[in-house]
């Protein structure tokens, strides 16, 4: 682990964007205390005021402070996407490990099912889930997680297939081990690295999908702010208050870009061969 950080620290881009990503998570965790104004407070005397010393990013049609809303939205986004990512990992990885190790008809059926889920556009899938569960936070988390879980099933099954051929797995069988012991003791420790990489690499996808859902009004509901939903509102006032779009758009770009580059850096650190080929 210390070795990982030592090698990661050599990647300048990775370190910079890693720090940026950590900053965003810091903002998310402390959102309640660092917002300059109440993000929910309506002030009809100050609607559409342009950026100023009191309101750095201006105010919206209800006079709410945009900066404070962006900060609160960061918290909402981080919460929703982290939970959705965890949901995808916790459902996809055990299924992938199990079917990869056991093989047979159960593997064929599962893999065909994931293929079916993968050809559905994510938004379609999410709409179905949200329609069933209603546009609650939990609904959004389940929708986003379910959309990505097949990816985790696939990648987990793939690495499991290669690890189960290793002789140390056969040695454990020869000692009388059952499948649960092998999955927990041999398969999981040896596949966790590629799974972690996959999780970091998919994080920006979660963020984009979460924003897309709320842009379409299927995500987190007003008045709770979310980047996509803020962008949707800003779009209606693009001519008279163009500054409304800056805050949520910048936050979205920074988050997605950082998460992407950090994912790349983690992958290269864990698998130096990839870097040489570049």
């Amino acid at each position: 682990m210390t070795d990982f950080f030592r090698r990661y620290s050599r990647d300048k881009v990775g370190v910079f964007f890693g720090a940026l990503l950590l900053l965003l998570y810091g903002v998310a965790l402390t959102a309640q205390w660092i917002t300059p104004a109440d993000p929910m407070a309506v002030n009809l005397r100050e609607v559409f005021s342009p950026p100023s010393a009191t309101h750095w990013l201006g105010t919206d049609q209800f006079g709410r402070d945009i900066l404070s809303r962006v900060i609160l939205a960061t918290q909402v986004t981080v919460k929703v996407t982290s939970a959705a990512c965890l949901f995808a990992v916790l459902t996809g990885v055990p299924i992938g490990m199990f079917v990869g190790y056991r093989g047979g008809w159960i593997e064929s059926v599962t893999m065909r099912a994931t293929d079916m889920l993968l050809i559905f556009p994510i938004i379609m899938l999410a709409i179905v889930v949200v329609v069933i569960s209603g546009p609650t936070e939990t609904g959004v988390i389940v929708a986003l997680g379910l959309a990505q879980a097949p990816q985790f099933v696939r990648i987990t099954r793939g690495v499991t297939l290669s690890i189960k051929e290793e002789l140390y797995v056969e040695a454990a069988i020869a000692a009388g081990s059952g499948w649960l012991h092998i999955l927990a003791r041999h398969i999981w420790p040896n596949i966790s690295t590629p799974i972690i990489v996959q999780a970091t690499l998919t994080l920006p996808v979660f963020v984009l999908n979460a924003s897309a859902l709320s842009y379409l009004g299927l995500g987190v509901q007003p008045p709770t702010p979310e980047w996509g939903q803020m962008l949707n509102e800003a779009k209606d006032h693009l001519i008279n208050a163009p500054y409304l779009i800056v805050g949520p758009a910048a936050a979205l770009v920074i988050f997605v870009l950082s998460a992407n580059l950090v994912g790349d850096a983690v992958q290269e650190t864990l698998n130096p061969k990839l870097k040489k080929r570049k």
Binding site: L167, A171, A174, A175, G176, H186, P189
Partner: protein, 345 residues
């Protein structure tokens, strides 16, 4: 009937792998990797199993341990009663229930060829060697640790190696770790699958010596699978030669090397390079390659490459029969041919 000192008796063991093709994965052919193997292993001996790649020797070893499900045949093994040292009657490993198999695994272990793939890189050496004990639920944590240290000592490693990870060790040391793991449950039979062929010459000798010392110390019985005839000759009491899924000859080591009765054994012996520039033998050329086990030749599988083949060899599969007290061969012409073995120098 089974003799008193028989530890393992294999009767007509078969393992066919299906060849699947197409969208529906229909079985279009069978690879007859093991095709009717008979052998017995006596308590305390080393039986060498030699043959070229693809002859089925590795599959035979794996099937005996039920790491590969047999297609047919019997694998009779004399286990120990749960209490300890009294022998039980012969159990058929081929049809044993999962619970029986788990118990049998205490008495049958395996050493692998590849010292890299056989050790989990995420586990310490201590965890690796102690894992069979943990799986079988034997001993407390501290007893296990003590046992691990004993085993590491027995294979020539030191106690402080237990906390290290496999990548810190060389190939020969890794093989020692694998051997310690195989001995953790105090087995009776150890299947050694090419245990030295991935090692350098000088390390090979260390591991061979170690295996012989451990056999003496723990009263082990080995099924020693290898392609290197000089190693097999050195370590085995008896040797079986495999060709295309069948045993073609089995005899005491000295008898097999000095007085082979199967033409394949003769050709194999003549092909081994001898580390002596003055040792010139006329090589018996074996034309062509080993045929595919999907579609083995008719009659005697060896006939297309055999220089003594006659009509009967092309049509009739030869019986596997005794040609001496302890010499078995599967060749129509075994009685009339006079074949050349290794002379002593």
């Amino acid at each position: 009937m089974t003799a008193e000192n028989t530890l393992l008796e294999v009767r007509n063991l078969r393992k066919y792998f299906p060849v699947r093709k197409g969208l529906l994965q229909r079985t279009v052919a069978q690879i007859k990797a093991v095709d009717g193997v008979d052998l017995t292993i006596r308590t305390g001996e080393t039986l060498g199993l030699v043959g070229e790649s693809g002859c089925g020797k590795t599959t035979t070893g794996r099937t005996i341990l039920r790491l590969v499900e047999p297609t047919g045949g019997e694998i009779l093994f004399r286990g120990r009663s749960l209490a300890g040292d009294t022998d039980t009657a012969m159990t058929d490993v081929a049809t044993a229930s999962p619970a029986q198999i788990k118990l049998l695994r205490r008495d049958m272990q395996i050493i692998f060829q590849d010292p890299y793939s056989s050790l989990d890189p995420r586990m310490t050496v201590g965890e690796i060697v102690g894992e069979p004990l943990q799986i079988q639920g034997l001993m407390s944590r501290s007893e296990r640790m003590a046992r691990v240290l004993d085993l590491l000592g027995a294979v020539g490693l030191s106690a402080d190696h237990a906390r290290r990870y496999p990548h810190e060790f060389s190939g020969g040391q890794r093989q020692r770790i694998g051997i310690a793991r195989a001995l953790a449950l105090n087995p009776r039979l150890v299947v050694a699958d090419e245990p030295v062929s991935a090692l350098d010459v000088s390390i090979q000798a260390q591991v061979i010596n170690l295996l012989q010392d451990l056999q003496e110390q723990f009263g082990l019985t080995y099924l020693f699978i290898a392609h290197d005839l000089s190693v097999v000759k050195h370590i085995s009491n008896r040797v079986a030669v495999m060709y295309l899924g069948k045993i073609v000859e089995l005899a005491d080591t000295r008898e097999l090397f000095g007085n082979p009765r199967h033409p394949y054994t003769e050709a194999l012996l003549s092909a081994v390079p001898v580390a002596d520039p003055d040792f010139k033998v006329e090589r018996i050329p074996l034309e062509g390659d080993v045929p595919s086990p999907v579609n083995p030749p008719s009659g005697c599988h060896f006939h297309p490459r055999c220089r003594y083949a006659q009509d009967v060899c092309r049509t009739e599969p030869p019986a596997y029969r005794a040609v001496g007290q302890t010499h078995f061969v599967s060749c129509h012409r075994a009685d009339e041919l006079s074949l050349r073995g290794m002379r002593s120098s």
